[in-house]
Symmetry: C2
Subunit: 298 residues, 2 copies
């Protein structure tokens, strides 16, 4: 199997490497070429454009940044669909990508557009955003939320299994992205609750470790309290997940919500608090830095 990989940032790099380690050939593309260099040294071919990747592999994965990047990589000049169309015109289909998999967290509606355009060209596509962050990508323990056709997932499943420990079909095209949005909406609430509880407790003079240990066992218990509160307590704002990316995800969820006629007030507030945090210079910090716009004492 020859895979194509577009987007070799911190996560994409590890994910592509797992597929190569599993015995697949690879052709890769990254806007900043130097970030793909490590994979080239491991034997990957380097492409000059997304179009070239599309016309030179069996299954193509994308893991880029913003929805505008996804749009560009698929629909733009020298993009994936241009590559597929050109190859089709020339009749070169031996190694033309038959399956397109976008693993970026992006707009569900964009996932549907990719699915439809792929179908038009005789290809299949999946949206497959992940959770688990850098360490999940590095350790192949990602949770992969898939939208699309079950028959397509079946073909790609062995490749997903090399990158993650949980692979679930959530529904038709876009459902993977929608599930990821639900995930981020829950986290927005959990994070504001955690950071406000910490700010309150610090102002009240409580022993923060004791407070967290007490409430984490009961109805207030959550992953954030277990994993991020201890970092806040020791003043560690290094990113598991960075503020700017969380803002991106929340903006997508808010936009989708409005499109569906829903007003998510909690999410709207948390997103605005994270923008305030970014504007204070914490855009590259971990999401736990939210305490810095709540209490003066952090």
């Amino acid at each position: 199997m020859k895979i194509g990989w577009i987007g070799t940032g911190i996560m994409g790099f590890s994910m592509c490497k797992h597929l190569m380690d599993a015995g697949n050939k690879a052709i890769v593309f990254n806007r900043t070429q130097s970030k793909a260099q490590g994979l080239v040294e491991l034997g990957a071919e380097l492409a000059k454009t997304p179009a070239q990747v599309a016309s030179s592999c069996d299954v193509l994965f994308t893991m880029v940044g913003y929805p505008s990047d996804v749009e560009q990589v698929y629909f733009g000049k020298d993009g994936i669909f241009e590559g597929l169309e050109e190859a089709k015109e020339k009749g070169e289909d031996a190694h033309t990508a038959r399956i397109l998999v976008d693993m970026t967290t992006t707009k569900p509606s964009l996932a549907v557009r990719i699915y439809e355009k792929a179908k038009e060209l005789g290809c299949e596509s999946l949206d497959a955003p992940v959770s688990g962050g850098d360490s999940g990508a590095r350790n192949a323990t990602l949770s992969i939320m898939v939208g699309g056709d079950a028959s397509t997932l079946e073909k790609v499943k062995p490749l997903f299994d090399a990158m993650g420990k949980s692979v679930l079909l959530e529904g038709p095209a876009g459902a993977g992205q929608h599930t990821k949005m639900a995930n981020q909406i829950q986290i927005a609430g959990t994070m504001v609750g955690m950071c406000e509880a910490l700010a309150y407790s610090k102002a009240a003079g409580l022993d923060l470790k004791k407070m967290v240990a007490t409430i984490a066992k009961g109805a207030a218990g959550c992953h954030s309290l277990d994993n991020l509160a201890p970092r806040v307590i020791r003043g560690d704002y290094e990113p598991g997940f960075i503020v700017e990316h969380f803002i991106k995800d929340m903006k997508i969820a808010l936009e989708e919500s409005r499109r569906m006629g829903l007003e998510l007030k909690g999410l709207g507030l948390v997103e605005s608090m994270y923008e305030e945090l970014r504007d204070k210079g914490y855009g590259k910090a971990g999401t736990q830095a939210l305490v810095k716009v709540i209490g003066d004492e952090f």
Copy 2:
């Protein structure tokens, strides 16, 4: 040991009964006398006033409703402190309460006032709010968050152990209440996240059970998602914890925050959403009913 118990509502009734089952004598008071009847049938003495309870027991527990009720029961006419003062004047101190324990969730500043007044009268006091709800009270699995002196807690510990499975000293007078506030602040965030994620997912056409099963395992995981989301999905809005009581707690936390110069925007928003929910007629519903002010589809 003879215990006094004021406030024999759903939780107080079970908690007092555990102490009686452990072999303690009891004298009880409740504003609505009929609610204490079951305990009288089990052998408890019935008092006519809180003052009478205070002058007829060794350790006195209170578990009432609102901060105004706590205020009334301790500082009001025929209240606990009046009873203690009168008994002192008469020299009747054989069975005068030496330790006062307020288990109501109430204002931390009120807990400090009780502590100071008790000290003035030669008594000790603890604030000891709980989490775990009706079922925790019934099954003696409450988590008890204690504020006050360690030496006082040591004396009362065997009684707490008959009611709960976790008893932790959080700090000086008021620290039990502050910890409970931190608990409610975290839950406010967790709940709005959960309910908005459910509303979003329903509007997006996702399979809600599948969505919850997917996100509950990762960074979005929380007690609410595990325990309350399944209730929302099957349309069950019966209370574990009722909306009106949660509003009471959030109002206390907001008031305390303002007093400390903190603005908790997340908590303020969630409190206002719960008020909207109460005004729609859901004051006695479980807190998971919050979805009803977010999506039209629940």
